[in-house]
């Protein structure tokens, strides 16, 4: 069997679709969008952390942070590769980002104002990312799932490092502890919003779940994450800025405060704190690199021509 029937069976068996398999156009489109958005998020996500590399307060932390931001570039690469297996080349995807036609995770439109943000981003942002991504390791599209496995492993390492930064600050001077608490206060709500709008306002989720791309609903993932950090924050000796946070024994669910979905929509619409800055920086890097990429292409062409001439000469 082939075509739709094969695809349906693979999905029904919770098995994997591979690049050469037939797949519905909408499935392909959805995946290209999701995987490339994820890739773009890794790339734009380098910026808030790169902002502190040159100012990291110890050489050890500087090294860890450099390695982390570099890992993100690596994640971007895997994900663009996964997206390319679906037929859209990386430069097309990159152009969509530069043109503002493709989205990236809106969390990266928040500024990294202090060193403690390196902790909060690691702990909360990477933490939410992992909660989102661990189920994606079983995504029905093979290359995506496999990329996710590798990424999740590194992300959980990053999350531990973020936690460690906050722990060190929390056990440090009063000013350091204040810095840590302030960062957690600023990143808590944006991190919760990373799971997307509430289930009753998330129209695409159902289809993604039917295709075995998404495995849990936004709200399920969110409340699971909130439960996790509610425990971890105690170890940190800090608090979460959520007076309503509690575990509801009856439903077995975590209850958290109402989130400001208007803010979420504003940031997605480009009205966040750093949207313009992030895009400007990305475009600038791309433009400044044009002559370099052109040179690399021209050189490769010359070399290929030379090799071809040699082969003819040798023949």
């Amino acid at each position: 069997i082939a075509g739709q029937a094969y695809f349906d069976r693979v999905i029904a068996e919770d098995s994997r679709i591979e690049p050469r398999d037939w797949m519905p156009a909408a499935y392909r489109r959805t995946l290209v969008r999701q995987v490339s958005q994820h890739a773009h998020s890794e790339i734009i996500g380098m910026q808030p952390e790169a902002n502190w590399i040159t100012r990291a307060p110890s050489l050890k932390r500087k090294a860890i942070l450099m390695a982390k931001v570099q890992d993100e570039a690596g994640h971007g690469l895997y994900l663009y590769s996964a997206a390319e297996t679906l037929g859209t080349p990386r430069d097309v995807l990159n152009q969509q980002l530069l043109d503002g036609k493709a989205k990236y995770s809106s969390i990266f439109n928040y500024p990294a104002r202090t060193w403690a943000d390196m902790g909060a981003i690691g702990w909360l942002v990477d933490g939410a990312a992992i909660a989102n991504q661990v189920p994606l390791c079983r995504a029905s599209y093979g290359p995506y799932g496999r990329a996710m496995v590798r990424i999740c492993k590194e992300e959980s390492f990053h999350q531990r490092q973020g936690f460690e930064i906050l722990l060190e600050l929390s056990n440090g001077t009063p000013a350091q502890k204040q810095m840590a608490q302030d960062a957690v206060d600023r990143f808590y709500a944006p991190a919760l919003m990373m799971f997307g709008p509430p289930d009753d306002d998330s129209p695409n989720s159902k289809q993604s779940m039917a295709w075995n791309i998404k495995r849990f609903s936004n709200d399920e993932l969110r409340q699971r994450f909130v439960g996790m950090i509610a425990e971890q924050v105690k170890v940190l000796g800090l608090t979460l800025p959520d007076p309503e946070l509690r575990y509801d024994e009856e439903t077995g669910r975590w209850i958290h405060m109402e989130l400001d979905w208007q803010e979420f929509k504003d940031v997605i619409a480009g009205r966040g704190p750093c949207n313009a800055q992030r895009m400007a920086r990305r475009r600038e890097a791309h433009e400044n690199g044009t002559w370099v990429r052109e040179a690399a292409r021209a050189y490769a062409k010359k070399q290929a021509a030379k090799r071809a001439a040699e082969e003819i000469g040798a023949a």
Binding site: S58, Q70, L77, V292, E294, R297, Y299
Partner: protein
Amino acid sequence: TEDVAQYALRLGDDALILAQRLSHWISRGPELEEDIALGNIALDTLGHARSFLTYAGHAWDRTEDDLAYWREEEEFRCAWMVEQPNGDFGVTIARQLVMSVYQYLLYSKLVDSTDATLAAIAAKALKEVDYHRDHAIQWTVRLGDGTEESHDRMQAALELVWPYVDELFDDDALIDAVGDAGVRPSSLRETFDAHLAEVLAEATLDLPDVPRARGGGRRGEHTEHLGYILAEMQVLARKHPGATW
């Protein structure tokens, strides 16, 4: 000994300031692969800095961070080359070409140091610097023999960094004092020149013919750039004296 510590400090400061400069490229490279490559090189170089500074600090009971964050400009011992601004990608590659070949030759000899720690640091660093050298050479050739624009930019980049080459190979009293624990910079020059001539020829680039800058980094006399580099690098640490991170 004090001399060996002072010598390690030089090597460490060269690596530290170079890493600081390079790290600025992360998230700004001409393509994603270069964000990764320059990030790797910066990270390796920072690692070398940490080893050398940690070792130097033993002599004065100071940590790597004491030395990185709590010295003043005139206490640094880096050469002027590493203080040079990143410029465009070509300038960074030109600086990398010089520094990676220089460090490769230096560490190749330092593995035979009579000081076991320096020898060990050099041995580890050597493998990494070999990759840095390869990276810089490949880009020099690609840019030199790429487009007309890239050729001109790369030639201009070489002219920009060349005044700072000679200082790297200056001997001084400390070099005499460390003797076989260190490496005599002037002894590396011939190989450096030969190697560079080869690379530039392949890259269809001309060896710059520009006067040397006086230099003085080894004596704590720095370019006007270093103050800005340190202001940024040290700002956070200095706001929290005594804190750990």
